[in-house]
């Protein structure tokens, strides 16, 4: 097996404002993010040779070609739940690395706010084709992990909620510094702790919101990236692991980790040659669909030892000015989760940070960044990790 490391470069990116974009359709947002990406790369839409288009609600490729008025180029629609946008990028990377295409577009969009729902249900949660009772909301699935985390590590509800509140406060703070975020207000720990319960022990501020958005990336072979710009960003590693319901079927599964995240991380670290992620990685955009998810991810990706998540959170290690900034752009907590766009939105932040263009959120000289998505449920999900780095 060969590594993807340093074979593909990101030369342009675009990202819409995330939020309740009542005045924008999915087509509008696709046009906005793709145009920004092309402009950023210094190319025109007609230069794009192939497209990987991520969306969970639009289930075919044609709407993307139609929105962007592409000239009979191949468009592939990809879907992998919460990792959908990252999947668009991942598959686009392989096409570029193969040498078949020189310039391609990876783009994702989700228009959730036309669906008249206040919260994300799950597209695949009901067992037995709707006849069993596996639960219907994402909050329930991640709350199971939260309850187990307390029991496994002997934490009281009060201790536990305080830690989760700190994660929420951190991400909302970062989001307050980001004009593209859906929610740009700071919150307090008290607000998070006392918020209405969604699925005990997870409350309103433990969950992410429902938003619209789109993000896009222009990729080319690394050896031609210099033609477009000096500050291109290189793909260093790609990992994807899909669970087979081990956690639902096997009592040995502890439900305080997500094996798919661990495995996807290992794949990506191996490709990127990363030995000690906590020391080597400067910033990470991870899938904080719920606060508990972020904490467990930091353990799964080796940012802190198993069970030490709460300590690291309390020490502020993952804050914007901490040793390893986690969700510097505000995360899903501030952006909401337009499923088909989130992965590329995360990559957009790493890309801008690498170029020193992250404004008030800018970290000092970051060289290695990570993005992560987790789809479906603890016990059986989809883990996706992307490592990005500055050019030498």
């Amino acid at each position: 097996m060969e590594s993807i490391k340093d074979k593909v470069a990101i030369i342009g990116m675009g990202c819409t404002k995330f939020g309740e974009n009542w005045e924008k359709s999915a087509d509008d947002m696709l046009v906005d993010s793709a145009s920004e990406a092309c402009e950023d790369a210094g190319i025109e839409m007609k230069d794009i040779q192939a497209v990987w288009f991520g969306s969970t609600r639009i289930n075919t490729a044609e709407p993307c070609a139609a929105a962007l008025k592409l000239d009979y180029v191949p468009v592939t629609r990809v879907e992998n739940l919460c990792a959908t946008a990252t999947e668009a990028l991942r598959n686009a990377c392989f096409a570029v690395a193969s040498g078949v295409y020189d310039i391609v577009l990876a783009i994702g969009v989700e228009k959730l706010k036309d669906q008249g729902m206040g919260g994300l249900g799950t597209v695949s949660g009901a067992g037995g084709n709707g006849t069993m009772e596996w639960g219907i909301s994402a909050a329930m699935f991640f709350a199971r992990m939260a309850t187990r985390y307390m029991a496994h590590y002997g934490m009281t509800y009060e201790e536990f909620k305080q830690v989760l509140a700190k994660i929420s406060v951190k991400n909302h703070h970062n989001g307050s510094l980001n004009p593209r975020a859906h929610f740009q207000r700071e919150i307090t720990e008290e607000m998070a702790i006392n918020a209405p319960m969604v699925s005990w022990p997870l409350g309103l501020y433990d969950a992410c919101g429902v938003s619209d958005g789109s993000a896009a990336a222009i990729l080319c072979r690394a050896d031609m990236a210099k033609k477009f710009r000096d500050d291109y960003v290189l793909v260093k590693g790609l990992g994807l692991a899909v669970g087979a319901r081990q956690g639902y079927l096997q009592p040995s599964y502890d439900m305080v980790h997500m094996e798919e995240t661990v495995r996807a991380g290992q794949q990506a670290y191996t490709m990127a040659g990363i030995k000690d992620p906590f020391k080597e990685i400067d910033l990470a955009e991870v899938h904080d669909c719920f606060t508990i998810t972020e904490m467990v991810i930091t353990e799964d990706l080796g940012f802190c030892p198993r069970g030490k998540g709460p300590e690291y959170v309390k020490a502020g290690t993952f804050k914007l000015d901490g040793k390893l900034a986690v969700n510097p752009d505000g995360g899903l907590k501030s952006f909401g989760h337009p499923i088909g766009a989130s992965g590329l939105r995360m990559i957009y932040e790493i890309y801008k940070q690498m170029q020193g263009k992250a404004g008030p959120r800018q970290r000092k000289n970051p060289t290695l960044g990570l993005t992560h998505n987790f789809g479906m449920n603890p016990g059986s999900g989809i883990g996706s990790v992307t490592i990005l780095g500055q050019r030498d």
Binding site: G127, G128, N129, G130, T131, M132, E133, W134, G135, I136, S137, A139, M140, A143, R144, M145, A146, T147, R148, M150, A151, M197, V198, S199, W200, P201, L202, A244, R245, Q246, Y248, L249, Q250, P251, Y253, M255, G379
Partner: protein, 467 residues
């Protein structure tokens, strides 16, 4: 000798106060006549090989479907063999005793050897009529070996009368005026049928050890005891103040209670009423001493949860009565394909590595061997809550929030996801014991979606007065 081989009962956990020191048993919002019948059947079949059962009759006035047998669903949920006789016996308060009589005759005729009779009802009545109603189910195994009570005689009487009735498609039972109902119906017809059987059998009232007979309420039940000439100690307690009148299952539940207290040699008279009367005479044998580990009536009555209010109970029944055709529901073809997993709660056990798993898989989760499984039932397995969440979401009706969603690890292996029922949400903990109960998740598109939920062991409610 044909007769009763085993008995069982199910009384829902919830009790609604009907006055000082009086209450009635009421079904939870995820229970109906069928789910209660399944619970009674399982109680009846405790320590009995289910493969030996060759028939199931289900008696009720409140079947889940107008057209579609409930007995088949009950047989599937109770994990009975497939090549069996099934029938629903419905539309009368007398359905319970009718089913018992028909079952005895079926076994006598040699059409079945071990026939399970279940009777269950969840009736509603208008204008306060249902304040005397209770919900519950009884089960009897009828056979010709190891009989604990032999059938000694019977007499039936058919009587055309609109005294208590319910039209098709209508929720509430109604009745004609009291004086007509009792004097032209119950008080006239039941004594006539009892008298005929006693004469046929050369028996007088003093020969009966325990008299089990229907009564619409406590006052008329007492009046009937006088008419029939029984002393108070001969009369089976009717439980109006603890259980309520459970319709088609009422006298059968009283019969369970009578058998619980019986001694070898006792003579038990059973008299059911409704559109006439059925009277059956039983003699208790030595084998009655072998019956053990039953929930029956007395233990079921002693394990209960007091409901908070009449309004909460109303909300349960209103929820159950919401237009069943209105919402999309489960798929009929999916239910058919997965009926062993859904109704019988069958998982699989890998024949290569021994790992048990639910729901059934094609490829083993542990050793990855393909298609090398044997069915494995989780319905009778105890488990522990590995993790849970309290849900306030739209899938749970407002009156039942928070609902409890659990991940259960079973004794003997296996893990699966279930909703929890008959619990106090605030008391649910990681590691707590649970057992399984057959319930209805709701109706959609005219399809009842039956599945299993976990619950704190019924045992844990014994002797408690919990709200």
């Amino acid at each position: 000798m044909v007769g009763i081989v085993s008995y069982g009962a199910y009384i829902p956990l919830r009790r609604l106060s009907t006055g000082p020191q009086t209450e009635r048993a009421v079904a939870n919002w995820d229970e109906d006549s069928l789910t209660m019948a399944v619970a009674a059947a399982i109680d009846c079949l405790k320590n009995i090989d289910r493969k030996s059962i060759d028939g199931l009759y289900f008696a009720t006035t409140t079947p889940p479907y107008g057209e579609k047998l409930a007995a088949t669903t009950a047989a599937w949920a109770a994990d009975l063999p497939r090549d069996i006789l099934t029938a629903d016996i419905t539309d009368s308060l007398r359905a319970g005793t009718g089913a018992l009589k028909i079952a005895i005759d079926t076994v006598k005729a040699g059409s079945a050897k071990n026939l399970l009779v279940t009777a269950s009802d969840l009736r509603m009545g208008g204008g306060g009529m249902d304040t005397g109603f209770g919900d519950g189910a009884a089960g009897f195994l009828i056979g010709d070996k190891d009989v604990i009570a032999t059938i000694e005689g019977s007499h039936s009487l058919s009587n055309e009368l609109l005294d208590v009735w319910r039209a098709s498609g209508v929720k509430n039972v109604r009745s004609w005026e009291d004086r007509f109902v009792f004097e032209e119906g119950y008080l006239k017809v039941l004594p006539q049928a009892v008298k005929t059987l006693m004469e046929k059998s050369n028996l007088s009232a003093k020969d009966i050890t325990k008299a089990v007979f229907y009564g619409p309420d406590l006052r008329r039940h007492r009046q009937m005891a006088g008419i029939l000439g029984f002393k108070p100690e001969q009369v089976q307690e009717p439980f109006f103040d603890k259980l309520g009148n459970t319709g088609a299952s009422f006298v059968l539940m009283m019969l369970v209670a009578a058998l619980e207290d019986s001694k070898p040699g006792d003579t038990i008279l059973l008299a059911g009423y409704g559109d006439g009367a059925d009277v059956l005479l039983f003699k208790v044998t030595d084998k009655v001493k072998n019956i053990k580990d039953k929930w029956g009536v007395k233990r079921s009555l002693a394990s209960k949860m007091l409901m908070r209010s009449q309004d909460e109970y109303r909300a349960y029944r209103d929820f159950a009565a919401t237009d069943p055709e209105k919402f999309g529901g489960a798929s009929a073809s999916v239910i058919a394909r997965e009926r062993d997993a859904i109704y019988a709660l069958h998982g699989v056990k890998c024949l290569t590595c021994g790992t048990v798993q639910y729901p059934p898989q094609r490829i083993c989760t542990q050793c990855h061997t393909k298609d090398n499984f044997t069915p494995y039932s989780f319905a009778d397995k105890k488990g522990k809550v590995f993790t849970f969440t309290l849900k306030n979401g739209a899938d749970i009706p407002a009156f039942a929030r928070p609902g409890v969603d659990t991940m259960v690890d079973f004794e003997g292996g296996g893990r699966a996801l279930f909703g929890m029922t008959d619990m106090i949400a605030e008391k649910v903990k990681v590691g707590m014991d649970v057992e399984m109960s057959f319930r209805t998740l709701g109706v959609g598109g005219g399809i009842h979606n039956y599945f299993w939920r976990c619950m704190p062991p019924r045992e844990s409610w014994l002797g408690k007065e919990t709200k």
